[in-house]
């Protein structure tokens, strides 16, 4: 009888032990959002620097990318200060040094004297796809102060796209891929925050506040880690990266509609559509088959929404380079190549 009882007790203990083990094991695989968020918040910092006037906030967000105090953040006027102060998740206040920045990708690295901090491992950064659930961590609006942890938002990846699918759509130097998020992530102070997947793996850095000139609305976006690893490596290795030309380079001898032999409809309003008014007889355009009343809707792969847009695009093309035009004639679309060399 005793033996039996012992047996069952032993059995129970083993089962319990096993159960506990499995619990620990599975939670390592799949942490609850609570744990994921707490781990991620621990890697976040609040950054205070220049600003604080004319609606420019003197703060932004950042996160550790090494155990020795390297902080990844967004390059902005906030960092253009004598004293940059960083506040850790536990409320510890430290002075930071600007280690370097890359104006093309608008990222910067700060360094604080601290050891053994939790950090996001860039080598383990993940890629997201449209529909992926994400967490956004930042100090948006500066609502978190002292040892209050960073704010967390939940959303999904709305789209993965080029920030400048059309030139001039957004006023930023960065021209690469972004994740568009369906949560309101890009707010004052949020730039430099972290986007993680639902398991807390770093995926992207929250961008600046940008208004789309395509449809005039605020955009919520983040730059994937894969797009900025070159910048980070260059800053870490001490290379000073020269200021990149943010705008596309203008041609030395640009193409013009006049050279083609095209006279456009007069530019009455800023959005005058690029309708062909006249074609000079015997000109390249004439030979290529362009006719009066044609509407030029694309030049060298860029949609030409207005006469100004067409002319600006041509300014970036050397006149000896052939230009592909897409023409709308009534309901038909025609592809026509203009080559001044011919």
């Amino acid at each position: 009888m005793t033996k039996v009882r012992k047996k069952s007790t032993a059995l129970f203990h083993i089962a319990l032990m096993a159960a506990c083990l499995i619990c620990v094991d599975t939670s390592a695989q799949l942490k609850s959002y609570k744990n994921v968020v707490e781990d991620a918040q621990n890697k976040m910092v609040k950054i205070y620097g220049a600003g604080g006037f004319q609606g420019l906030e003197a703060y932004q967000s950042g996160f550790f990318i090494s155990s020795t105090g390297e902080i990844l953040t967004t390059w902005s006027y906030v960092l253009d200060a004598e004293d940059i102060v960083v506040m850790l998740n536990d409320g510890q206040k430290l002075n930071a040094k600007l280690k370097g920045y890359d104006p093309r990708t608008e990222v910067a690295i700060l360094k604080v004297e601290v050891l053994n901090v939790d950090y996001f491992n860039l080598d383990k950064a993940v890629k997201l796809r449209s529909g992926s659930k994400v967490l956004a961590l930042s100090n948006l609006y500066g609502v978190a102060t002292g040892n209050e942890p960073a704010s967390v938002q939940f959303g999904v990846v709305s789209a993965k796209t080029k920030l400048s699918a059309r030139r001039g759509a957004f006023d930023t130097n960065y021209q690469g891929s972004v994740y568009v998020i369906d949560a309101m992530t890009n707010n004052p102070g949020a730039a430099g925050g972290a986007i993680t997947d639902r398991r807390g793996n770093l995926a992207a850095i929250i961008g600046k506040e940008l208004r789309s000139s395509k449809n005039n609305i605020w955009l919520n976006f983040a730059i994937p880690v894969s797009e900025i690893t070159d910048s980070i490596d260059a800053i870490r290795s001490g290379k000073i990266i020269a200021q990149a030309d943010p705008k596309a380079k203008l041609a030395d001898e640009p193409m013009t509609v006049k050279l083609m032999g095209i006279v456009l409809l007069p530019n009455v309003v800023s959005n005058t559509p690029p309708f062909v008014d006249r074609v000079v007889r015997g000109s390249v355009a004439d030979k290529a088959g362009i006719r009066p009343d044609d509407l030029i809707i694309e030049a060298a792969g860029q949609l030409t929404t207005s006469r100004n847009a067409l002319e600006n695009k041509l300014k970036t093309i050397e006149r000896d380079t052939p230009v592909k035009l897409t023409i709308q004639r009534g309901r038909k679309f025609l592809n026509i190549e203009i080559d001044l060399n011919k």
């Binding site: 047996k7 032993a10 059995l11 083993i14 089962a15 096993a18 159960a19 499995i22 619990c23 599975t26 695989q29 799949l30 796809r129 449209s130 529909g131 992926s132 659930k133 959303g155 999904v156 709305s158 789209a159 993965k160 796209t161 080029k162 699918a165 059309r166 759509a169 568009v180 369906d182 949560a183 309101m184 639902r198 789309s212 000139s213 395509k214 449809n215 005039n216 609305i217 605020w218 919520n220 309003v269 800023s270 959005n271 005058t272 559509p273 690029p274 309708f275 509407l295 809707i297 949609l303 030409t304 929404t305 207005s306 897409t326 709308q328 009534g330 309901r331 038909k332 679309f333």
Partner: protein, 643 residues
């Protein structure tokens, strides 16, 4: 022992399996959700297309126009797309769509839905387009997954936002609400369920305004709208013919102002209103609309919301306890109400009938040779003359004729009058109302009017003289400042007594300015006076000069059901006065006066133009002196009840 160990091992394995199963499930739910969402999106991938536009306006009002790529949804395989009208508000020169194979095709606008802010496009292509499956509104439940799909960033892939169905019956029944982020990034795209069926077409909508951009200021707020796809598919045959859809109107005014509490009892409707044409009458109460029970006015608005002009709908009314059903054909436009006018100023009812106090010059009554002192015995065949006149004014239009029977010197005279537009000119002279002996049973002289919870001071002057008819009420809004009412009364005393009206004198709380919300206080002061004194509700007017006149306008237009006259002296219309429109029930007459010549009175001219446009009777006149002002206003007030 081995056996025992085996047993343990088996047991542990069982535990292990169970636990693993549970944890795998937990993991899978997240995974499965993402997969389900992506599978749903894939189902509409070929139906959610990117559209681009060229040219057009670069500013819409004070906002930069949205000229970037936008979204449209395939609704018919033969080349029809539906989109939000927001996407075309800049009136582009050319619209085209990127088809699934990457080719561009030209689009033309075929028709618009002006009720639900949608635009139907026809694509010039021989390719068969992929029409998505859709789910009916009746199948939706609040809390169901709702995924917004647009295609604005990249022609090769969609952009999405994930949320739930927040409500199934919004914007007076026109739309479904979602907390997914809806913005120009997906206007014109689809709201889909977790199975990839289209719930509706995403578009900005608002109850506070109409037009293609109304409601777009709520973009990305967590309050977004989608028009049920099944309800638009039903309308396709009409739209394909190039016919625009308009909100369907009944053309009725209700009794009672609280749409959430008052029943849909009809107070008035124009002779050309769809309800009147169907046989519905003033006084009827609508109890059923298209099979839906209606208890309150708001429920009727919800029921009418999804219908369009031209739709014929069964309407059940309650007339004196009897239910009757009519078929009403909803209209696109309701003729604005314009009060028909005969040119009569009436006295107080006697046993023999309603005496005529004054016949206005050149009026239909004058042309029919009616005379001061005639007693009206029947109006439109009705012996209850006062009520008959009121009913006729509400339900008739200019040009309608009416038969009147009067008694003059014991002889009965019948005549037919053809109504014209109101001529608000003041008469040079007219008979005063008959005085009677005795004193009123309420306090006369200077009376303090205390309005609870308001810091303002307010007084009234109540004349002692008694007339056969109840006195009128003139609310004089002074300029901001402190006034001794005793001194004010000296100017008004005589005219109040002669023309039978009470003067109410509310003062601003701030001695520097009137705040617009003090219109409430003025209204409360009138209500307060009504508790202790009797006056004729049809002769309540509000007046003031300068900023007092502007305040009078603010008060009048926010209390149309109580105020019948508005007089503005050297005053400009305030910027925000709400809707200015003539109403058959809440009739209003406006007086614009100035001490300068009429053609130099810019304010007066503006008031005249605005009121005339709204079919509100307005008189614009020069006033010689302050003394003349009091007399003129008194005559104007006395003539408010002209028919």
């Amino acid at each position: 022992m081995t056996q025992f160990t085996n047993k343990i091992a088996a047991f542990v394995t069982a535990w292990l399996l169970m636990l693993t199963a549970v944890s795998v499930n937990a993991q899978d739910i997240e995974q499965l959700e993402e997969e389900a969402i992506n599978a749903a999106i894939a189902k509409v991938d070929k139906s959610v297309l990117q559209i681009e536009s060229i040219g057009g306006l670069d500013r819409i009002g004070d906002k930069t126009a949205s000229v970037g790529p936008s979204t449209a949804l395939v609704i018919d395989a033969d080349g029809y797309l539906i989109s939000s009208s927001y996407n075309f508000v800049h009136k582009p020169t050319s619209i085209f769509v990127k088809l699934a194979d990457g080719k561009r095709a030209a689009c033309e606008i075929v028709a618009r839905d002006l009720s639900r802010n949608l635009t139907l496009l026809k694509v010039d292509t021989k390719e068969k387009l992929t029409v998505p499956k859709f789910v009916g509104r009746d199948k939706l439940k609040v809390g169901n997954w709702a995924i917004a799909v647009g295609r604005t960033f990249d022609p090769s892939s969609t952009n999405i936002s994930v949320g739930i169905v927040s409500a199934t019956n919004r914007i007076w029944g026109k739309a479904i609400q979602t907390d997914a982020k809806i913005s120009p990034n997906n206007y014109g795209g689809a709201l889909i369920d977790i199975d990839g069926n289209v719930i509706g077409i995403l578009t900005p909508l608002s109850t506070r305004g109409a037009g293609p951009t109304a409601g777009s200021d709520w973009y990305d707020s967590g309050i977004g709208f989608a028009v049920p796809m099944d309800e638009i598919v039903k309308r396709l045959p009409t739209m394909k013919k190039g016919k625009d859809l308009y909100p369907g109107l009944l053309g009725i005014s209700f009794a009672g102002r609280n749409i959430y509490a008052d029943p849909a009892k009809i107070a008035a409707m124009g002779g050309t209103s769809p309800a009147a044409k169907a046989g519905i009458r003033s006084g009827d109460t609508i109890v059923k609309f298209a099979g839906k029970n209606i208890r309150r006015q708001a429920e009727l608005r919800h029921a009418v919301g999804p219908y369009y002009a031209g739709d014929s709908v069964a309407v059940t009314i309650d007339r004196d306890g009897k239910e009757m059903e009519f078929t009403v054909t909803l209209a696109q436009k309701i003729d604005p109400y314009q009060q028909p006018y005969l040119g009569l100023l009436l006295g107080t009812k006697t046993d023999s009938g309603l005496p005529i106090r004054h016949v206005f010059d050149q009026s239909p009554a004058a042309k029919a040779a009616l005379k001061n002192g005639d007693i009206i015995t029947t109006f439109a065949g009705d012996k209850n003359v006062e009520q008959a006149i009121e009913n006729w004014i509400i339900g008739s239009k200019i040009g309608d004729e009416v038969a009147i029977e009067v008694v003059r010197d014991g002889k009965s005279i019948r005549s037919t009058l053809k109504s014209v537009a109101v001529d608000p000119a003041l008469p040079a002279s007219f008979a005063a109302e008959t005085k009677i002996d005795g004193k009123p049973d309420y306090q006369t002289g200077i009376v303090e009017v205390k309005v609870p919870e308001e810091p303002n001071t307010c007084h009234a002057y109540v004349p002692e003289t008694q007339f056969r008819s109840a006195p009128g009420l003139l609310v004089w809004i002074p300029r901001p400042g402190e006034f001794e009412f005793k001194d004010v009364v000296k100017n008004w005393e005589a005219v109040c007594q002669k023309h039978n009206f009470i003067l109410l004198f509310p003062q601003s709380a701030d001695k520097q300015k009137w705040r617009p919300d003090e219109a409430d206080f003025v209204q409360k002061a009138i209500d307060q006076l009504r508790l202790s004194h009797k006056f004729d509700d049809a002769r309540v007017a509000i007046a003031g000069s300068g900023s007092g006149g502007s305040m009078a306008a603010t008060t009048a237009f926010s209390n149309r059901d109580q105020i019948r006259g508005l007089a503005m002296i050297n005053a400009s219309l305030p910027r925000r006065v709400g809707r200015i429109a003539a109403s058959p029930v809440n009739r209003l007459t406006v007086f614009a006066g100035s001490f300068v010549e009429k053609d130099k009175d810019k304010n007066g001219k503006t008031i005249q133009t605005r009121m005339s446009a709204a079919k509100i009777p307005v008189v614009h006149t020069k006033i010689g002196s302050t003394k003349e002002l009091y007399e003129t206003l008194a005559v104007w007030l006395d003539c408010l009840k002209r028919y």
